[in-house]
């Protein structure tokens, strides 16, 4: 077969569109933002590039560092909950019958077919004061009280009246929403890693006297580590840059870094400062990827065969 690289024309014809796309819509805008981050705001719409570091200095003030820290913390909590929830799900899918497996995977992927905004509003309907959870619990309590009235313990003597819980507009709601949105990103790489895992390793562990619990922690988790690392990264990075979820589900103190960036570009009309914050977020992301690369290289030594 002819090597497509040896034919210069074929090479350029096939490479030009993606190259153009990347340059026009990725590299140029990103460079502009990068330049903004070293600029000063000199009028309502005027921005002057004067290569100053004031925006970065301001971004490192305690207020903003606090929000950065909060974003990292919320994303980390989201990722941790996702690992704990996704592992049993992935194991259940791997060990289900092949016909069943397809349907279960479809159920995991299904939320992707719906717009994030709509899914988030659906969550609001579930969590709000008059939402499904509060109303459902209210119904349960009211009816339990009604049943107790037959034995003379009604009229809220033992239980009730039900007071709705504040499930929405706080950090818990944001983390709940982030877990809901990002769970498929954790399930799929874990599923892929567990599916590749040779079953005889598990059988050998059982055969040598380990129970299911120790087999899981001593054999399954270490061998699924590359999959866990992938899942953690592709959950953590988008979770940290979340905008919509904290905006709709969060309270006044649930601001994450993306909300601050958005408000700088919109309400505050301070593009240079927003640009500096954006780049700090990107550097943080690169840092996370670098850690993963180091971990994977370490892992790679044991994985080669």
């Amino acid at each position: 077969m002819e090597n497509w690289k040896s034919s210069a024309r074929a090479f350029w014809v096939s490479m030009a569109p993606p190259t153009f796309w990347l340059v026009a819509f990725f590299i140029i805008p990103l460079s502009l933002i990068w330049l903004y981050s070293f600029s000063s705001k000199t009028g309502i719409v005027e921005i002057t590039l004067d290569w100053n570091l004031r925006q970065y200095a301001r971004a490192l003030e305690p207020v903003y560092l606090g929000i950065f820290w909060k974003s990292i913390w919320m994303a980390a909590a989201t990722t941790a909950i996702c690992v704990v929830v996704a592992f049993p799900v992935a194991i259940a899918i791997v060990f289900s019958k092949p016909t069943m497996r397809m349907w279960l995977l479809l159920l995991v992927i299904l939320p992707f077919w719906t717009n994030l905004l709509i899914r988030t509003y659906a969550l609001i309907a579930v969590l709000r004061t008059n939402g499904f959870i509060n109303n459902g619990l209210d119904w349960l309590v009211t009816h339990a009280d009604w049943l107790l009235s037959f034995v003379g313990l009604g009229d809220n003597m033992l239980i009730g009246p039900y007071r709705p819980m504040a499930l929405l507009y706080n950090n818990t709601a944001v983390i709940f929403g982030l877990v809901y949105v990002h769970l498929p990103f954790m399930v799929l790489p874990l599923y892929a890693a567990l599916d590749r895992l040779d079953r005889s390793y598990l059988e050998a562990s059982l055969d040598l006297g380990a129970g299911h619990f120790r087999t899981f922690f001593l054999i399954v988790v270490p061998l699924a580590l590359p999959g866990i690392a992938s899942g953690v990264i592709i959950t953590f990075i988008p979770a940290m840059g979340s905008y919509l979820t904290p905006d709709l589900l969060g309270g006044t103190d649930s601001y994450m870094i993306a909300n601050v960036i958005a408000s700088q570009f919109k309400q505050a009309n301070n593009w240079p400062f927003g640009a500096a914050l954006s780049f700090l977020l990107m550097y943080a992301t690169f840092f996370a990827l670098a850690i993963r690369a180091v971990l994977m290289r370490k892992e790679g030594r044991g994985d080669r065969r």
Partner: protein, 362 residues
């Protein structure tokens, strides 16, 4: 107690999907300290049977008893058996030492005892110098020794081996066969090996169970299996054999009279009647230019067809007027090339002893 069989398999069956019988009413006993082989073609149920001993498969019916204890409700990790897997299943994220020590760690043995027993087990399989290696730095043969040491270090009552040599090249396989026999004698543990390779089973095992279609066809020591196969399947599966179809009627005194067209009528000891096969192994066949006179022989005229020369013997196919040729292994007993050269088309008397002839029913 010590005379009781270490493994009793009582009427064990395994159904898949409610209908497919992988194992069909198997009864077997394995004696203490025996090297026992489960032999059969792929899909005969031998691996399923072994996995039921290990506890990875639950029998649909019947009972498995190991060392007098019913295993029906005993989980794999609580059974007094250990397994060497076909893929070895050596944990890739642990060193050799950690792999071998894994089972003892699960028993929560003291660190010093683990260290001593791991070293001992590694010496037993001649891997003492590689204790710190990772599995991906080892050859297939070495990884198999790790799997062996890892199972033996637990001092199981029975060691189960699932096609342990199938992934090795021919030369290593032969060396490993001898090694396994030596190992079994050294440790004195009962070995149960699953294999589809008849020469492997014949050369290693004390007794062999031949399986086909989920059923045990015959259980016997190697020589008995070879010389006295119970039926056509076993005769055909173990070694090479010629079969000549015929009809048999009882002739009294444990003898049958068989009519088989090219041979005429012969009376042989046997019990099978009706449609039978007269079976004779190729190495028990002789050839001569002159007609032999001995009445204790079965003889037929044959024309030389294909000849395959193997050095120590030649494999000669004679056309005796049947659909398939008669195969004879002629040992090259002297350096006289002329005497042991067979040319296609030459006619010989082909003969063998009546006592070497088997009458096999279905």
């Amino acid at each position: 107690m010590s005379d009781a069989p270490i493994i009793q398999i009582k009427n064990v069956s395994k159904l898949y999907g409610g209908t497919v019988k992988a194992v069909d009413g198997v009864d077997l006993e394995v004696k203490r300290g025996e090297f026992f082989a489960l032999l059969g073609p792929s899909g005969c149920g031998k691996t399923t049977l072994l996995r039921m001993l290990a506890g990875f498969e639950v029998p649909t019916g019947g009972q498995v008893i190991i060392d007098g204890q019913d295993m029906s409700n005993v989980a794999p990790n609580k059974r007094p058996v250990n397994m060497v897997f076909q893929s070895y299943a050596v944990f890739p994220h642990m060193s050799v030492e950690q792999n071998v020590g894994y089972g003892l760690k699960m028993e929560r043995r003291p660190a010093r005892e683990i260290k001593e027993r791991v070293a001992e087990a590694l010496d037993l399989v001649k891997l003492g110098h590689l204790a710190k290696r990772m599995p991906d730095e080892m050859s297939g043969g070495q990884r198999q020794r790790v799997a062996l040491a890892r199972a033996l270090v637990k001092r199981p009552k029975v060691l189960l081996l699932d096609e342990p040599l199938s992934a090795l090249d021919a030369k290593l396989r032969e060396a490993m066969q001898l090694e396994l026999v030596r190992l079994q004698k050294t440790v004195g543990i009962t070995f149960v090996i699953v294999t589809h390779d008849q020469s492997e089973a014949l050369s290693m095992a004390n007794r062999i169970a031949v399986m086909a279609q989920g059923k045990v066809q015959q259980v016997a020591p190697p020589a008995e299996l070879y010389e006295m196969p119970a039926n056509r399947f076993v005769a055909d599966f173990i070694g090479k054999i010629n079969m000549i179809e015929g009809d048999a009627v009882a002739a009294g005194d444990g003898a049958v009279r068989v009519t088989a067209p090219p041979l005429g009528e012969v009376t042989l000891s046997g019990t099978a009647t009706g449609k039978v096969a007269l079976a004779v192994r190729p190495e028990k066949i002789f050839v001569d230019e002159k007609e032999p006179a001995d009445p204790a022989l079965i003889k037929v005229k044959g024309k030389v067809g294909e000849v395959a020369y193997f050095g120590s013997y030649s494999n000669v196919f004679f056309d005796i007027g049947l659909g398939q040729p008669l195969q004879a292994d002629i040992s090259n007993l002297s350096r006289d090339i002329e005497e042991y050269t067979f040319k296609a088309g030459e006619e010989y008397w082909v003969y063998w002893r009546k006592s070497d002839t088997l009458v096999l029913g279905d």
